[in-house]
Point group: C2
Chain length 133, copies 2
Amino acid sequence: MTRQRRVLLEILDQSDAHLDARTLCERAQKKIDIDRATVYRTLELLKQKGLIDELDLMHLHGEMHYFEARTGSEHFHLACYGCGKITEVEDGMFERLKKHVALHEGFKVQTARLEIGGYCRACTAQHKKKSRV
Amino acid sequence: MTRQRRVLLEILDQSDAHLDARTLCERAQKKIDIDRATVYRTLELLKQKGLIDELDLMHLHGEMHYFEARTGSEHFHLACYGCGKITEVEDGMFERLKKHVALHEGFKVQTARLEIGGYCRACTAQHKKKSRV
DNA sequence: GCTTACTTGCGAATGAGTCGCAACTTTAGA
DNA sequence: TCTAAAGTTGCGACTCATTCGCAAGTAAGC
Ligand SMILES: [Mn+2]
Ligand SMILES: [Mn+2]
Ligand SMILES: [Zn+2]
Ligand SMILES: [Zn+2]
């Protein structure tokens, strides 16, 4: 556990948002000297160790992926095409589905990613209002 | 509906595998003159229309995404880190979860992607055998 | 035939992520 | 404490999927 790795994990642990590699790198560089390549290498490492999760989030803001520290509680993500908001949802049904798959398909689950793209409540309401004009 | 678009949709409809943009382009070029850029533009269009789905598949074989025609039956994907195999799973629980989220969160679902990475039955068995040595 | 909107191919550009390598750091043993 | 091997880092060059600008091509309406 080097200084670089500790700082990166710290930032991920403390951030409640979903950070892409570049943003993570920028934040880390405010604290220590660290290179882009090291960030990518470390992210790969932390992922392997099961300490963080990589998210696609429907590539809502470009080509990059996002990262978040793995906490005890499992959740999945809703991405709004309208306002770009990401909502985290914790639902027992997701857990059950994962266990079901593991059992039924004989699949050893390492990571499970449920990502839903669409329109949040606010954006749907706004859209309805507009189309009524 | 131009010739280019028809051919691309045809290939996607007929293929049972998950095609990345480059492969799709190569296959289309065997039938007609078509450019990379047109493929990307058309994929975006077909996605918007809800005719195809874009998959991440844990970026198992590189940086690209994969595409598949949307059929009646909803399914999700298991990606094996060992052998690279992609398994499609159809499970009522997935449908129910989607409906539940739509209702409970007031979210208008456009696309839902459940992707699970881990080890398939065969790879898990092989791994156990190896570690017994 | 002329106007307009849409679509395409081409080549150049973008930008996230990777690689090779030499320098640096840590570890573990003599 | 010294030393050599193993692991990690920064740097710069590179890759390669995807996007963009633009001029030419196509389809449709009048
Ligand atoms: Mn992705
Ligand atoms: Mn599929
Ligand atoms: Zn929204
Ligand atoms: Zn496998």
